[in-house]
C-alpha cells in the first residue's frame, strides 16, 4: 500500500500535473510566441538587466503586476492584453500576484526620468496618498543624485512595454495574422484598438479632446486637485509643490496664466508631451471639468497698463525675427521648427501669461525646454516688448469667458 501511495499519489500525479499544466501550456505558448513575435527581439541592455534585478530583489512584483489580463477592466486601465511573446525574455517572470499599485506592463514612455527618480526617492512628494516605500538607499541623498541602482531601475522601468511599442502597427498586424486565436474575444482584447501606446496616463499630442464645459463641482475639484495636482503645481497653482524643484521643465505656474478651456482640456486629456505632466484619462470627464474650473480660479488678478503702439511695433519686429520659427506666425505654437521639438512651444492663442511671467520666460528661458534665455541677443527693451506682444494673440472663447476672472 505504501508503495502505491508513494508512486501514484506522490510521483504519478505530480508528473501528470506538470505535464498537463506546465509542459503542455509552455509548448502552446512557445508556438504562439513563434507565430506572433516580431522578427528581431530587442533584448534588455546591461543596465536594464541590472535594473530588473533591483526590481526583483526589492519585491516590486509583490505590489505591481506585469500582466494585463484579458478583461475589459484591465485593458481600459492598462492597455492591450499581454501577448505570450512579450515576456519571453523575462527570467524569472515578474507577472505578479497582487496589485497594491497599478500594473506596469506598459510603463514605457509614460513618465519622464525626473518623475521616476523623484517617485522612487520619495513617493509621497509626487503622489500624496501613495503607500509605496521610499527607496532612498538607491540615491546619494537627493532625487537628482541617483546611484547606479536607481539609474538601472529607471532604465528597466522605461523598457516595460517597449518591445510591443517598437513593433508598431506592422507588429500588431503580424501578430493578428499569426494568431491561431480560438476565441475572438481574446484577440480583441489583445490586438484590436486601442494601440499599445494608448494607456490612460501616457502623454500624447493632437488627440481630440472632450469639451470641459460640464458641471464643475468646486469641492470635488479641490479634492481632486489636492490629491493629484498639488504635489507638482502647489496648493494655489503657483508651481511650488514639493515635487517642483526636482522636475525639469518645472510644473507650470497656473496662477500666472489665463487659459482657455480648450487649453486646459488638452493639458488634462493629452498631458504635456515631453514633461512630467501625464494625461489624466483615468479620471471621468466631469472630474476634469471640475479641475479645469478650479485651475482657472487660481489666476491672479493683475492691473495692467495699455500696451503703447511703439512697444507693439518693437514687439512685432522682435517676434517676427526671433520667435516665429517656433511659436508660429499667429502665436499658435505651430512654427516650422515646432515639429522638431520634444516639448511643444507655447500656444499663445490658448494661454496668456501675465506680463511678469512672460518677461521672465524671455529673459531667463524655460528650464528643461528649448526656450533659451534671450538676454544675450535682445536688449531689455526688446525683451519686454516681445513679452508683451505675444499676449496679443490670446483668443478668449466666448463660452470659456463665462465665470473666468
Amino acid at each position: 500500500m505504501s508503495y502505491l501511495v508513494a508512486s501514484v499519489a506522490g510521483v504519478a500525479f505530480f508528473v501528470l500535473s506538470v505535464a498537463l499544466l506546465g509542459v503542455w501550456p509552455a509548448r502552446v505558448l512557445d508556438e504562439q510566441t513563434a507565430a506572433m513575435a516580431p522578427d528581431n527581439p530587442l533584448p534588455l541592455t546591461r543596465s536594464e538587466q541590472r535594473g530588473r534585478t533591483v526590481y526583483a530583489r526589492e519585491g516590486c512584483a509583490y505590489c505591481h503586476t506585469q500582466q494585463v489580463r484579458y478583461l475589459a477592466a484591465d485593458v481600459r486601465r492598462f492597455g492591450p492584453a499581454t501577448l505570450a511573446w512579450e515576456s519571453r525574455l523575462d527570467v524569472p517572470h515578474l507577472m505578479g500576484t497582487r496589485r497594491i499599485g497599478p500594473d506596469l506592463s506598459r510603463e514605457s514612455g509614460v513618465r519622464t526620468a525626473d518623475w521616476q527618480f523623484l517617485h522612487l526617492f520619495d513617493p509621497r512628494a509626487m503622489v500624496p496618498d501613495s503607500v509605496m516605500p521610499p527607496y532612498r538607499a538607491l540615491f546619494d541623498g537627493a532625487p537628482d543624485r541617483p546611484r547606479q541602482d536607481a539609474r538601472d531601475l529607471v532604465a528597466y522601468l522605461e523598457s516595460l512595454g517597449r518591445a510591443r511599442e517598437i513593433a508598431g502597427p506592422e507588429g500588431e498586424a503580424a501578430a493578428r495574422a499569426g494568431c491561431d486565436c480560438p476565441d475572438d474575444r481574446m484577440a480583441e482584447l489583445a490586438l484590436a484598438a486601442p494601440p499599445p501606446t494608448a494607456t490612460p496616463a501616457r502623454p500624447r499630442r493632437g488627440d481630440p479632446v472632450p469639451t470641459l464645459d460640464g458641471n464643475a463641482d468646486g469641492a470635488r475639484g479641490q479634492l481632486l486637485y489636492d490629491r493629484a495636482c498639488a504635489s507638482c503645481h502647489g496648493p494655489l497653482g503657483q508651481g511650488d509643490g514639493p515635487a517642483a524643484p526636482w522636475l525639469r521643465p518645472p510644473p507650470a505656474n497656473l496662477a500666472e496664466h489665463e487659459y482657455t478651456l480648450a487649453r486646459l482640456a488638452d493639458a488634462l486629456w493629452n498631458g504635456v508631451s515631453g514633461t512630467s505632466m501625464q494625461a489624466w484619462r483615468d479620471h471621468p470627464v466631469d472630474d476634469l471639468a471640475s479641475l479645469a474650473a478650479l485651475v482657472r480660479s487660481f489666476q491672479l488678478e493683475r492691473r495692467e497698463t495699455t500696451l503703447p503702439d511703439s512697444m507693439l511695433e518693437t514687439g512685432r519686429r522682435v517676434y517676427e525675427a526671433n520667435c516665429l520659427q517656433c511659436h508660429g506666425p499667429d502665436g499658435g505654437g505651430d512654427g516650422a521648427a515646432a515639429a522638431e521639438l520634444a516639448i511643444a512651444p507655447t500656444n499663445f492663442r490658448l494661454q496668456r501669461p501675465s506680463i511678469a511671467r512672460s518677461v521672465q520666460a524671455v529673459r531667463e528661458g524655460v528650464d528643461g525646454t528649448r526656450m533659451a534665455p534671450w538676454t544675450s541677443r535682445l536688449t531689455e527693451e526688446e525683451i519686454v516688448a516681445a513679452a508683451r506682444f505675444v499676449r496679443q494673440f490670446f483668443i478668449r472663447d466666448a463660452a470659456a469667458r463665462e465665470g473666468a476672472p
Partner: protein
C-alpha cells in the same frame, strides 16, 4: 513497542515557535508599512518587499516546517510501530533545516539575495539545502512505512508519504524551473508550485495531524475509512491540477485555465467529503472540544472547509475577474495558513507535547492561546476579505487607481490591529509549552507518574483505532 524521539519533537517544536515569532514580526512590520510607508525608509533590509519575502518563507518553512517535523517525530513511530531511521540523522536534519536554510535564507533575502517567486523567495543556494533536507526527511520518516510486515496503513500515513514524496519533486520544480523557463511559460510552473506548496506540502501534513489527533483524543475510530480513502486519492489527484488558477485571464492557454478551474471546483467537493468525515468523527466531543489539542484540531477542520469552499468560489471566472490581485487573496492565504494550517500545527504540537513526560505544559496558557488566536484570525481575515471586495468594486469602476488604495486604508488599520491578539496568542502558546509543571500534559490527560516509561506511555494512549499493534 514504539519509541518516540521526544527530544527531537521538542527541538523542532521550540524551533517552530521561535521562527514563528520572527516571521510574524516581519509580517506585522509589513502591514504597518502600508499604513506608515516611511517606516524603515533608510534601511534597505527593512524594506517592504524584502520583509514580505522573509515573512512568507519564514511561516512556511520555519513555523509550519518545524511544527510538521515535530509532529512526524511523534506520529510516525506510533503509526508504524517502528522507530524513525536515526537520531543522528534527526540532528542533522534539524541543523540543516534551521541553521543552514531558514536563518541563512532570512539573512540573504533581507540582504537582497532572493527570487521574486511566490512561495519560493529564498535564493537557489538555500533551495538546494532544503532539497537535501527533504531527502533527509524522506530517509528519516519513510522507511518505517515501507519496512516489511506492515499490512495496514492508516490514512494519516498515506498523507505523510504522499506529502514527503510529492514535495521532494515539487520543491525543485517550483524554485528552479522558473529560473530557466521564461515569461508566461515559467509562470505556469510557478502557478503549480504556489498551489503545491499549500496543497501538497502543508495540507496533507495538516490533514495527517487532524486524522491522527481526532481518534487519538476521542478514543474512537474515524467515522469512515472509505471516505478517508476517497478524500485522500481525490485530493492527490485533483490538487496538483489546480495550479493555473493563480493565472486566470492571463495569456496561459485557456484550456489549462479551464482545467484548473474545474479541478478547483472538484477540490471543494473533496474537502466537503473530508471535513464531513472529520466532523462526524468529532461527534460527542462537542462543537468546541474541552481537550485543547482536539480543540485546535476541530477549529482547523472548520477553517479547512471555509477556506476550501472560498477557494473553489474564487477560482470561478466571474469571481476571479473581480477579486484577483486584491486583498481578498491575502485574506484567503491567511485563512489557509493562519487558520487551517496553524491551528492544525498547534493542535499537533499540543497533542505531542502532552505526551512528553518531561515537557512543561501550562493548560491555562494553552486555553488562552486558542481563543486569542481565534479572535485574531477572524479579525484579520474579515478585514482583508472586505478590503478585497472594496478594491474589486473600485477597480471595475472608472475611479482612478489610488481610490482603491485610499479605500483600503481603514481596513488595513483593522488588519494591523489583529496583530495584537495574534501575537498575544502565539506568545501564550509559547508560554503554554515552556512554562507550567513538567509532565503537566500527562496530568491534564488524567495520567500521572505511574503511567510508566515514556515510550510505553506514548504508545498506549495514542493508538488510532483500527491500527494493529
Amino acid at each position: 513497542m514504539t519509541h518516540v524521539e521526544t527530544r527531537l519533537v521538542y527541538a523542532h517544536g521550540l524551533a517552530a515557535l521561535a521562527t514563528l515569532l520572527v516571521a510574524v514580526s516581519f509580517g506585522i512590520v509589513v502591514s504597518l508599512q502600508l499604513l506608515l510607508p516611511d517606516l524603515g525608509a533608510d534601511v534597505p533590509w527593512l524594506s517592504w518587499g524584502r520583509l514580505r519575502y522573509a515573512h512568507t518563507q519564514g511561516i512556511m518553512l520555519g513555523w509550519l516546517g518545524n511544527a510538521f517535523l515535530a509532529f512526524l517525530y511523534h506520529a510516525v513511530p506510533i503509526l508504524t510501530g517502528r522507530r524513525v531511521t536515526s537520531v543522528r540523522l534527526g540532528q542533522w536534519l534539524f541543523g540543516l533545516w534551521n541553521l543552514a536554510a531558514v536563518v541563512p535564507g532570512w539573512i540573504l533575502v533581507l540582504a537582497g539575495v532572493s527570487q521574486p517567486l511566490e512561495w519560493a523567495e529564498f535564493p537557489p543556494a538555500v533551495d538546494l539545502v532544503i532539497v537535501v533536507a527533504l531527502v533527509l526527511a524522506a530517509v528519516q520518516f519513510l522507511p518505517p512505512f515501507f519496512a516489511r510486515g506492515l499490512e495496514y496503513l492508516y490514512v494519516s500515513s498515506w498523507y505523510v508519504i504522499g506529502a514527503l514524496v510529492f514535495t521532494l519533486l515539487a520543491y525543485p520544480m517550483g524554485n528552479l524551473v522558473p529560473e530557466v523557463v521564461p515569461g508566461a511559460q515559467g509562470a505556469a510552473f510557478s502557478g503549480l508550485w504556489i498551489h503545491d506548496a499549500v496543497g501538497l506540502f502543508v495540507t496533507p501534513l495538516a490533514l495527517a495531524i487532524l486524522y491522527f489527533v481526532i481518534p487519538a483524543s476521542t478514543g474512537r475510530p474515524i467515522y469512515s475509512h472509505f471516505l478517508s480513502m476517497l478524500g485522500f486519492w481525490l485530493l492527490f489527484f485533483v490538487y496538483p491540477l489546480n495550479g493555473t488558477h493563480h493565472y486566470v485571464f492571463s495569456v496561459i492557454p485557456m484550456e489549462a485555465q479551464a482545467t484548473a478551474i474545474a479541478a478547483s471546483t472538484v477540490l471543494g467537493i473533496d474537502v466537503v467529503i473530508v471535513v464531513a468525515n472529520l466532523l462526524l468523527s468529532l461527534r460527542g466531543a462537542g462543537i468546541i472540544p474541552r481537550e485543547p489539542g482536539l480543540r485546535f484540531v476541530a477549529a482547523s477542520t472548520v477553517f479547512y472547509l471555509l477556506v476550501s469552499v472560498q477557494g473553489s468560489v474564487q477560482a470561478q471566472m466571474a469571481v476571479n475577474q473581480a477579486v484577483h490581485f486584491s486583498d481578498w487573496v491575502i485574506g484567503h492565504s491567511h485563512l489557509a495558513m493562519l487558520g487551517f494550517a496553524t491551528f492544525a500545527a498547534a493542535g499537533g504540537l499540543v497533542h505531542a507535547w502532552q505526551r512528553i513526560p518531561w515537557a512543561r505544559y501550562n493548560a491555562r496558557a494553552i486555553d488562552w492561546a486558542f481563543w486569542l488566536l481565534l479572535v485574531g484570525v477572524v479579525m484579520m481575515v474579515s478585514a482583508l476579505t472586505v478590503a478585497g471586495l472594496v478594491e474589486a468594486r473600485l477597480w471595475q469602476s472608472d475611479a482612478p487607481w489610488l481610490d482603491s488604495v485610499r479605500a483600503a486604508r481603514p481596513l488595513w488599520v483593522h488588519r494591523s490591529l489583529s496583530a495584537v491578539p495574534i501575537v498575544a496568542g502565539f506568545l501564550t502558546l509559547l508560554a503554554g509549552l515552556t512554562t507550567g509543571p513538567r509532565g503537566g500534559g500527562l496530568t491534564a490527560l488524567g495520567l500521572g507518574k505511574e503511567a510508566g516509561d515514556p515510550p510505553e506511555v506514548a504508545a498506549r494512549i495514542a493508538v488510532p483505532a483500527g491500527q494493529a499493534s
